[in-house]
Amino acid sequence: MKELRLMKGNEAMAEAMIRAGYDGYFGYPITPQSEVMEYLQAERPMERTGMVVLQAESEVASINMLYGGAGSGKNVVTSSSSPGISLMQEGLSYIAGAELPCLVINVQRGGPGLGDIQPAQADYFQAVKGGGHGDYKLIVIAPASVQESSDFVKLALELSNKYRNPVMILTDGAIGQMMEKVELFPQQPRWTIEEIREKKPWATFGKPADGERRIITSLDLLPEKLEAHNTHLQEKYRTIEKNEVRYEEIMCEDAEYIFVAYGLASRICQKTIQLLREKGIKVGIIRPITLYPFPKDILKSYASKVNGFFVVEMNAGQMVEDVQLAVECKEKVSFYGRTGGVLPTPEEVMEAFEKSFK
């Protein structure tokens, strides 16, 4: 039987953490995502599944709790919003360097600085280009609905473990706060000790009597060895780029123009393309679901077929650079964005599009 509920995005992600079988959540309150920990605490996850929930003293502490928890073989998750995610960058770099699976959720708000608490997409560069120091990548997935917010929490557990790589869900205050119908997936069991032993032989939870000790570190003082490690990481990222690209094509079959937008912006654009189609202009949307790996090939494949690309973001223009790179300047790429937590209306997006491609 289907389990349907009306939930906020933040609550749906919290419920999904329990159901996906995460072992631990560590976080620090920040608007617009505080409902995640509030929901978890109210649900008593320790009683439901044995999941640990802890309010840390800061985002610096929570990301390092993830580092410890993930290093010890457990499936762990944190959530925060933009300023808190900035504080986590050092820890994320260590986690990526040590190749630890975990999930970090960024419910973005307006920036820079303390900014405001309205929805934004201004942390795109930080999320997809690395964010902290060193050459590394997070797998970045962007939900556009409450349903996907829930589903991607489960997907993240699979992907992070498959590649021993941190995953980020990059969402925003609107998707976090809005209520929609969501079909909850059934409860998954947390991993048993036997499963951890088998699937994560590198994890530090006590040296096996018959085996070598395990070490979790991102340190390698010999440049040649560190370079070899970096090469290995880059090879892993190439595999991820090959296997894990996800996107949605909306009304692209006959499209003469392609909108490119993710998350909430893609929802706004759906209304815009409807308005444009009513006027007889054939437009479609490519919605990247994975922001890293970026759906380059599909965009490139449309470059010869359409008259232009129109990128819409809730920032001053970040993903647009990746679209330009993907289409290799073979076709015109224009951009429209609002910043600071201002949501563009479908009508103003249409106007901006018409101005760009008259």
Partner: protein, 258 residues
């Protein structure tokens, strides 16, 4: 003549198997190696090599995992107590300890230290206080003594400008989440024996789930202090011990009356 002596019944000391055979990277005379050894001996004696997870800091002991034959995670600078918190909460039956220098624990990691202590995490914190940043070449630490010279206080630590030496151990002793607080040294055999007893007590405490056990070891840094090892030990006795007096501060959750 010597072969006569090499008999099992004459054996009085042997290196614990919980130390690896890797040559220590520490300066000759440095206390870090001795501190490692007594922790590993306690782990061997308690039979918990397979049940213990260590968390190494950033500092001279960043490579502790090379020498400790147990599962170890190497933390970011100052964050060891956050890692240890999560490991212990997710594996409540294991023994978890951090090993941290004074820069790591009392400067960049002050928040993580205080809050792990305040939450009463069931972990052991071993705090190596040598009054200086050894690894980065002898800069001033929060624990550097008044008027003490370092590379970033070349004319001595001026307390009016550079603040006062931080007694982190006394500070955390005030927190109800902290069950055992003691200050030890490892520069002489008698001190090594006492320090080892303290570490054993700390590890035994964590099994009781009574909160943090915090063991400070006042140590030397002959390289950073720019002294010969023997002079460094003498200087430590003459200058560090008066400011950081050795002995128990809190035992079984109660302050020790002196």
């Amino acid at each position: 003549m010597y072969t006569e002596l090499i008999k099992p019944e004459n054996l009085v000391y042997t290196k614990t198997k919980v130390m690896t055979d890797k040559e220590l990277s520490y300066c000759p005379g440095c206390g870090h190696g001795t501190a490692h050894r007594i922790i590993m001996e306690v782990i061997e004696e308690m039979g918990i090599q397979g049940e213990t997870i260590g968390v190494a800091p950033v500092g001279c002991s960043v490579l502790a995992y090379e020498f400790m034959n147990i599962d170890v995670q190497q933390a970011a600078h100052g964050r060891a107590p956050a890692l240890a918190t999560a490991i212990k909460r997710l594996w409540p039956e294991k023994y978890v300890f951090t090993y941290q220098g004074d820069g790591d624990l009392a400067a960049i990691g002050t928040a993580e230290t205080i809050h792990a202590c305040n939450r009463g995490e069931n972990i052991v914190i071993v705090f190596i206080n040598n009054g200086i940043y050894g690894m980065t070449g002898g800069q001033m630490a929060p624990t550097t003594l008044p008027n003490m010279k370092s590379s970033t206080s070349p004319y001595g630590r001026d307390e009016t400008e550079m603040g006062h030496p931080l007694k982190m151990t006394e500070l955390v002793a005030n927190l109800p989440g902290v069950y055992y607080v003691t200050r030890q040294a490892v520069h002489k055999p008698s001190h090594v024996r006492k320090a080892k007893k303290a570490i054993r007590k700390a590890f035994e405490n964590t099994a009781k789930k009574t909160g943090v056990s915090f063991v400070e070891i006042v140590s030397n840094c002959n390289s950073g202090w720019k002294m010969r090892p023997t002079d460094a030990n003498q200087w430590m006795e003459d200058n560090m011990f008066p400011y950081y007096p050795l002995g128990d501060i809190k035992v079984d959750g109660l302050f020790v009356n002196k």
